[in-house]
């Protein structure tokens, strides 16, 4: 595999730089060769396995694409126009919006809260950190199944209903009812459990980079309570981390698939865009509409990301 080549080439300059009378640059001379040595292998793979498929998809989205993935039978913008009429695709975008409105602030608040909490304790800190990070190692499908079959299965022996029955609350059909839409509890809690630990780690890293002198200065300047230090020191210092976390949360919410797919299937009431497109492309073999929808989705994500980048910056070289 070509992957091995850079590593092999690296060993040589390290060894050959031993005499080093004039050679200041190890093996590679000049900026451009060095850059391509580092970035080239990755870039080649990216083009072959990511960019070519993207272009293929875009081209395919302009053709009819029923039962075929070979572009041809051009229909212009018809696939896009079909999707942008009021219908399942637009309602799936609404589903996403509701989902993001729940999951983004909740994950942000919970992971930041846990990070702050962990940052103040000393005893058993590693233990708690590991416990909160553990679900990150679990797959979405496993979590969905535990949620669906053991916790929120809607029958008497389910964990949620067992706990509710201790308080005299009757059975709730968590996933099988749309009024009230209890399925949001199931979906949001599953994803919270899975992802809070990861963002907590990001926040912890950010918290540890805050210089203690800032808190000293705040105390000298008369910061009255922990809320004030949080509001005027911690939060502003976490700005870069917060921006990254929000961006990742939003993109991940856009791409929600596994838990909806496993918990709700092809339900008409809560079907995020990817699940809808999946059923369009794989279920109906309608690859034209499927790819058109995927392109719309990608454009939406790009607009949001670039807008966020314009406002907050991507962390350019300093």
């Amino acid at each position: 595999m070509s992957v091995g080549i850079p590593a092999a080439r690296v060993a040589a300059p390290a060894a050959s730089s031993r005499p080093r009378p004039v050679r200041r640059r190890g093996g590679v001379k000049g900026v451009a060769p060095a850059f391509w040595l580092f970035v080239g292998p990755f870039l080649v793979g990216l083009v072959v396995f990511v960019y070519v498929p993207i272009v293929w998809s875009v081209v395919l989205s302009f053709s009819r694409g029923q039962n075929t993935v070979t572009p041809g039978d051009w229909v212009g913008l018809q696939n896009y126009l079909d999707l942008l009429r009021p219908g399942p695709f637009l309602s799936s975008l609404l589903t996403f919006t509701v989902f993001a409105a729940f999951i983004v602030p909740l994950t942000f608040a919970l992971s930041l809260g846990l990070a702050l909490l962990l940052n103040t304790v000393t005893v058993a800190k590693t233990f708690f950190r590991s416990v909160f990070f553990l679900p990150t190692a679990c797959s979405y499908v496993v979590a969905s199944l535990v949620w669906k079959l053991s916790i929120f299965n809607g029958v008497r022996f389910g964990l949620a209903n067992t706990v509710l029955s201790w308080f005299g609350v009757g059975n709730v059909a968590w996933l099988a009812t749309t009024d009230p839409p209890w399925y949001w509890v199931v979906i949001v809690s599953a994803r919270l459990w899975l992802q809070v630990g990861f963002y907590m780690i990001l926040f912890l890293a950010g918290l540890q980079r805050i210089s203690p002198e800032l808190y000293e200065a705040a105390a000298v300047d008369g910061a009255r309570n922990s809320w004030q230090t949080f509001r005027y020191i911690t939060l502003p210092q976490l700005r870069a981390t917060s921006v990254a976390v929000l961006l990742l949360l939003l993109i991940n919410a856009y791409q929600a698939f596994d838990e909806f797919f496993n918990l709700l299937g092809n339900s008409s009431f809560a079907r995020p865009p990817l699940v809808y497109l999946y059923y369009t492309a794989q279920g109906n073999q309608d690859f034209g509409h499927g790819t058109a929808g995927a392109v719309i989705l990608a454009l939406l994500i790009m607009v949001v990301t670039l807008a966020q980048g314009k406002i907050f910056g991507f962390g350019k070289a300093d």
Binding site: F35, L46, C138, Y254
Partner: protein, 330 residues
């Protein structure tokens, strides 16, 4: 929540200069506050561990234990044989599946670390004029949902004649824009002075990277390895299904992953039977959980495509749960 918290550094400040402080006890450092904090942590920890407990409990239960009216912490008798039966089940070669998974995950993680750390370093540190445009081109791929590239990348894999091979699953996901992005952001903050020292000692970019930057970035590499390892757990299934996507003649698969065990009926295994059936029985029929349903109804609720195509990324309780419970698969 924020009112109960105080950054650790400020409490150390309080300790380092106790007499000078005009406020004897900051609200965060009193004993009750400390107790409240640990209480909150313990409650949160219990909630986070609960699903893992359920996996273990159900894995050691019979159907009748799971569906019993009263909640029991653990079934009266622990059915360890569920696990040995899983491994001796001839219809699901779970042992081989786990080996496949391990190979794929290890190779992919190592490959991604190598490729993406080098790319990230080049983007962060080598002042090439195309570095920023290339970085944006990589950033764009972060925003592309997998659905966009799903089918065409299968075609590319098939053009390379990699369908049903390990490299067909491993190679396409090596080039992770996300991992490169993380590495670039990290290398941007790497102390320049260390690299300058390497430069003075006569090392070029390559030497500085391998002999100074990488050895001093162990923790970050480890963190990325964990993240990558865990993300890949989702990807190969997509790729494996991708391999099966257009495989209309139903040629045998060389690669079987634990998560893909769903195409095999696992009803013979007690204890998991209820889960399996329920897994496929669809959310609208919770009655199937009573265990009364026949073994074969597990797929009905999932509305599979009518053809031989496997629904992409659907993985059943059989592989997933037992994979996680029995082996601690990441």
């Amino acid at each position: 929540m924020a009112t109960t918290t105080l950054p650790a550094s400020s409490s150390t400040v309080a300790e380092s200069e106790p007499p000078a402080r005009r406020r004897p006890a900051r609200p965060g450092s009193s004993v009750p506050a400390q107790v409240a904090r640990y209480l909150a942590l313990v409650v949160a920890a219990v909630l986070f561990l609960l699903p893992f407990y359920l996996i273990v409990r159900n894995a050691l239960s019979l159907d009748t234990d799971i569906t019993a009216p009263g909640w029991t912490l653990f079934p009266p008798t622990l059915h360890w044989e569920n696990i040995s039966e899983l491994f001796s089940d001839t219809s699901v070669n779970i042992g081989q599946s786990l080996v496949n998974s391990a190979v794929i995950a290890v190779v992919q993680t190592a490959g991604q670390l190598l490729l993406c750390s080098m790319a990230g370093y080049g983007l962060a540190r080598i002042p090439y004029r195309w570095a920023t445009p290339i970085f944006y081109a990589i950033l764009v791929t972060l925003m592309i949902p997998p659905a966009v590239t799903f089918i065409p990348s299968f075609i590319i894999v098939s053009q390379l004649r990699w369908v049903d091979t390990l490299q067909g699953i491993i190679v396409p996901v090596l080039f992770s824009g996300f991992t490169t992005f993380l590495f670039r952001q990290y290398f941007l903050n790497f102390p320049r002075s260390l690299e300058e020292a390497a430069r003075v000692d006569g090392l070029g970019y390559v030497g500085a990277f391998w002999r100074v930057v990488v050895p001093n970035s162990g923790a970050f590499f480890a963190a990325i390895a964990v993240i990558t390892f865990r993300q890949l757990e989702r990807v190969p299934v997509a790729a494996g299904d991708r391999a099966g996507l257009l495989d209309v003649d139903g040629a045998g698969r060389a690669v079987d992953l634990p998560d893909r065990a769903d195409h095999q009926p696992a009803r013979a295994v007690p204890g998991r039977g209820g889960l399996d059936r329920a897994a496929g029985a669809g959310l609208r029929r919770p009655a199937a959980l009573s265990g009364a349903g026949g073994g074969r109804d597990r797929h009905q609720g999932v509305s599979r495509p009518a053809s031989s195509r496997e629904p992409v990324r659907w993985r059943s309780g059989a592989g997933g749960l037992s994979g996680c419970a029995a082996t601690g698969r990441r």
